[in-house]
Symmetry: C2
Subunit: 450 residues, 2 copies
């Protein structure tokens, strides 16, 4: 007894210390290999087991992915693809298609007929809809089926799709409508000849409402449902309410990460998909942003040019003016970031945003008074001109208060008019705080100092 | 037959259309209520069912949360708390403690002894460790137990903890060491008098390795494991490798979201926890950032002041210099954002970052040439001074190339020296691109134009 328990212990420890490498980890190692020795890289690719081949390839950066897949024979690729869930299989083929239409086509024709059907079904959904993220493999049972029939289905499913986890049982009626989603923890308590209908009728067990979305439901909505209802799985139905597939938690991890990443990159003037795709698409997306920014910067330059004579008389203004503009930019950027996130999480909308706007203005005013006073002191010590200190203090206070207001209003306005707050907000913001900062400071200087 | 199927259909449709509101949704409505009529707000709070009370309260913004909980009698609160999982219960009490130590203490003493034990056990773990996020409620079975004993445990667990989902069965040996994690889909296939030991020995079933982390494992590491291994659940063990609790997928949704949010806010100079806490802590955290930024801005101002005479002679320099600095800031910011995210995802580290640095420099150079040429054209048209155009073109090219280099190096260096790249990178970056931009532009102007 004690011996065999020890055996189990050893078993456990060896698993814990020597965990199997994940596709992500293998892909990371392969990338380093590629950089140091391309020959060994291709040798390693050739040695990869079919079950994991596609999962590893898809994690490689685009440039390497393109080289790697194109050297794999169509037949081997088709076999490797059959280890993927239907949604992954479709994604993979679509990615290959970007680089090499012919390769994708030939491989597609080597797939099993039901796999071809799944791919052509799934690839019809746009990437922002639930349909594109569903797996069509799942365990379903009819209302009239008994528990022993379900057990048989489990055995077959396990054999046919060893990599496809069964989380829950989807119970459907004769017309494929979803009736209930059952957990196996519940099923275990019933007898072999109980039908699904009888099991569901037990009110105590049927606490799980069959939550479902349509194939055309926006994927953001699906992510929100998973988070708010703390779901592990959701059913996807078509317009006739017939069960089509399932979306599971592991996709949600990726989707939340991607949603946030894409938002953060957008706010910095880069594009998630372009960054993932290739060097040149990343560079072009970023260049576009620089151009739009240049327009904004020219506005700021134009405002400065209006006060050329004033600057000629007091060059200290040229020295100090970037401080006024940049502090406004910082405060505004804080307000924009906070507001964009509140909007994205659905915490605020145009109608209930007043408290947020008020708060941002208050922060702008209070921090504006403090920063204005501090910069005035610095100016006084540096240039020994009390009036210049006064001018910059007032300019900073005004600019920071306005920055708080604009910073919270811009994302709300963009959202109201149907735009994406994360893309356009930082741009409008800097334009506003730069222009405002230079204008207030130089105009005040002209009035007070000259 | 057809009739009863129709019944099921109706049942399903009503569920789909009239979904129960989630705590998040109810909290959102209550907040609006609070803003429009505080009286009704408290009436609604009093009416909330105990099962949901705490889950709803915790979703309220801090200011409202504080008011709401303090009016609930200790006894009612203690009962409401018992509907929470151990980790949520501990979180809730700790949050209350921030506002009102006495209230938290009195409520704690009204909890059941085993709940008190769970709280005092869980609250010992720092918030960045796995221990703080585990639930202690879970279904365990000894190796010697039979399937029918497990079934009995399921029934009892369901009764005692109706809100605590059972995802998997944790099988432990006599010393509480985790031996296996079993899915009920597998268990359903066995006989009532099979012991866990026998079931696990069936190699075909035991495909699930018992992946576990320690209570002291950093929570980031746990999140990474969930994402890479696509886990729904993980076991948490103590230093003696004894099973302590579990962390489940629903916490991971929150944690991924929080990790990304906190990073995005940090990069904008705001702090996630301070923003969540209160107006004044948010304002102070943001002010701190403005002060640090001011130091950077003073460096830039100092560099401009070195070229006062040059600016006095050619005021156009003051008009154009913000363009050079800001474009550098943009390119650098793109590089910083991309690099910080690659670091956070563990895609790069100090040793294998060379390709990323090279890519950022290349983007800086290529986009620098294009932007330099464009701005030179604008300058030529605006000021009609070919030499000024040449100066600004060269300055932009240099500054953008340097910005790409610095933007990718800064996060890597900060990470290497143990700092948090998301906090400090944007600051060091703007300091560098501003100083560099003003310096290159004004110094070149002095050499070429004067």
């Amino acid at each position: 007894m004690t011996d065999s328990q020890d055996d189990f212990r050893k078993h456990e420890t060896s698993f814990a210390t020597k965990k199997a490498k994940t596709p992500v980890q293998i892909a990371r190692e392969l990338r380093l290999q590629y950089e140091s020795d391309v020959g060994i890289f291709f040798a390693e690719i050739a040695k990869l087991p079919r079950e994991n081949l596609c999962k590893i390839l898809i994690e490689l950066p685009s440039a390497i992915f393109e080289e790697a897949f194109s050297r794999i024979p169509h037949k081997k690729m088709a076999k490797a693809l059959s280890y993927l869930a239907s949604d992954e299989l479709t994604d993979f083929l679509q990615r290959i298609k970007q680089y090499d239409r012919d390769y994708a086509k030939s491989t597609y024709h080597l797939l099993a007929p039901e796999e071809q059907a799944e791919v052509s079904n799934l690839s019809q959904f746009p990437t922002d809809k639930a349909g594109a993220y569903m797996q069509m493999e799942m365990l379903t049972a009819k209302l009239t089926e008994t528990l022993s029939q379900v057990k048989q289905k489990v055995r077959i499913f396990r054999q046919e799709k060893p990599n496809s986890p069964i989380f829950k049982l989807f119970v459907i009626d004769a017309e494929q409508h979803l009736v209930a989603i059952l957990h196996f923890t519940d099923l275990i308590l019933f007898d072999d000849d109980d039908t699904m209908k009888k099991i569901i009728a037990q009110a105590t067990i049927h606490h799980q409402k069959p939550l479902s979305v349509h194939t055309s439901t926006p994927i953001e909505k699906v992510i929100q449902l998973f988070e708010e209802y703390e779901l592990s799985i959701i059913a996807v139905v078509n317009d006739q309410e017939q069960l089509q597939g399932r979306i599971v938690f592991e996709d949600i991890y990726d989707l939340i990460r991607m949603q946030e990443q894409s938002q953060a990159l957008k706010m910095a003037g880069a594009d998630y998909e372009a960054e993932e795709e290739s060097f040149s698409s990343a560079r072009k997306a970023r260049l576009q942003w620089l151009f739009i920014n240049l327009v904004a910067l020219c506005c700021a330059a134009f405002i400065i040019s209006l006060y050329k004579e004033t600057i000629e008389q007091i060059v200290a203004l040229a020295v100090l003016m970037p401080i006024v503009a940049a502090l406004g930019g910082n405060v505004g950027n804080q307000a924009v970031t906070v507001t964009v996130r509140k909007l994205a999480l659905g915490q605020i909308n145009w109608k209930n945003a007043l408290p947020v706007i008020k708060q941002e203005i208050m922060i702008g005013i209070m921090n504006g008074i403090i920063m204005g006073a501090v910069v005035a002191m610095i100016t006084l010590i540096w240039f020994d001109q009390p009036q210049l200190g006064l001018v910059i203090a007032i300019a900073i206070m005004i600019n920071l208060a306005v920055a708080g207001f604009i910073g919270s209003m811009i994302p709300l306005l963009i959202k109201k008019f149907g735009g994406d707050p994360a893309i356009a907000s930082p741009l409008f913001l800097t334009t506003a705080t730069d222009a405002m900062g230079f204008f207030v400071f130089l105009a005040l200087a002209e009035i007070i100092l000259i």
